[in-house]
Amino acid sequence: MNDRGADVVPGGVDPKALPDLTQRASSAHRMAGTVTAAFAVTGLMWVLFTDIVLYAISHDPVLIARIETAKGWIFISLASLLLYAVTFRSAARLDRVRRLTAAVVESIADGVLLLGHDRRIAYANPAAARMLGCPLDELVGMSAADFSLRFHIAYPGGGLVPPGRYISQRVFDEGGPLHYKVKLAPAGGGELVISAIAAGVRLSLGAPATWVVSVMHDISDTEHLERLRDQFFAAAAHSLKTPVAVIKADVQSLMPAAAPKQRRIAASIDRQCDRIDRLVQNLMVLSRSRSQTLELHPSEMELRPLVEQIAQEGVWSYRHEVRTELTGSPSIRADHERLALVLRNLMYEASRLSLADSPLTLVARPEGDRVAVGVRYHPLPWRDRVSETHGEYDDIGIGRSVAETIAEGHGGSLSDEATDTEMTSWLHLPGGTGAHA
């Protein structure tokens, strides 16, 4: 029984055959010291006891000299045998560890690349060669630039990854482990999407990485499924928008001639159409964000017209008095469509979590080189709230999650500010080039 607690692990592998990877370099010193000390003690004892025996049985100097010489030869022979046995045992153990390590790495289904201190590929396992459609001897020795020319590494969005930005290169300077998802063009054609992780190999804690191990996991099938899901969401959203547009236009055209009661019902249908439209947009953003295919198309824009447009939308005003509080003419660089969705989500959240007939105030102001847009409202007492904490999958929670995703995509953030009577949900964004108070 060894200290691992079992003689045989499941699968029938004798654990004694496995290298003890927890052994540290200091144990090598200890082992070498023990062998040397044992050798020195044995040698001293040999000399001491054989000398005592020799001088006890003989006083003939010639005989003593001959026996001393024979003793020396015997000692050298025994020491040589011992040295051979120790060296053979160590070399055999090292060889076993080396072969076992190579067998383990070569049997890994993921591609493994080992980069040396010259930042070139020093080793690749068969899975890497298979994945990249490139013979092992061609992979070994490749630099990041060679790799780029050969496999065209690109981000999921399509932009090429500069060789200096490969995680296997960055980890030498930045530490790690680092992770990313990229697509590449293997030698056999087609497109391969991989999730890669790179970590530095350090000989001691805190030392710079002398080697880097990069593991590539093929996620092409998963990506294909996610792309299909994204296409499905896009098609479903488009298909939903058209009937919503027809219903909305129908009820709006009925309103002018309708009796007061019917007009109220028509207005309610109209508001629910807006809500469905916002939900569809949120689900599309969420789906794309999760498959890392969300695209933002920022352009320089004035915030004032957008804030005023959203404040005027009838969906809020049936239950609240909507006000605006605009300081200066803050401009930002943002995706107009997505930013409008964020503000509508924050307005919806505020309208659901606030007292009926209380005011909702859309606030926009410059803050140094940033711009803050917020929705201020009078929150419900906690026991009356629709949702004390935003559930991940209710419409407020989805709206907040989408708002955070879009804010982060713009280099901004969301925050909440509470006073005794008011709550403000803030969206902070970097100001545009023309930002002014």
Partner: protein
Amino acid sequence: MSKCNDVLIVDDDLDMIEVIELVLHDAGYQTRSALNGKQALDAVELEMPALIVLDMLMPVMNGWQFAQAFRSRYGRAVPIVVATAAEHVERRRNGDITDVLPKPFEISDLLRMVARHVQLPPPPIVQ
């Protein structure tokens, strides 16, 4: 020769066409309709409208293809307003498209946009 208040509605959804026609008729415009880009090209060949309200995703010939074909044949005299549920159309807007109305839209926005491009004839003077 075109009528000064004739609006051509191009959409593959008959209900969408009907409601836009109702709203525009009530506002005093004349309308015609087509179910795809190809039918729309036939319609403009018969008579040039004052404005085209165009959906994007349609079978046979989509909105982009229609706009391109229309501009190459007839130039830029007639404005084209795209009414679509597609995302980020504003970004793809080129010289072929005059304005964009995202679906679902408010009727007031539709009327405002049509009025921007088509002037109604003055009401007849009652003696």
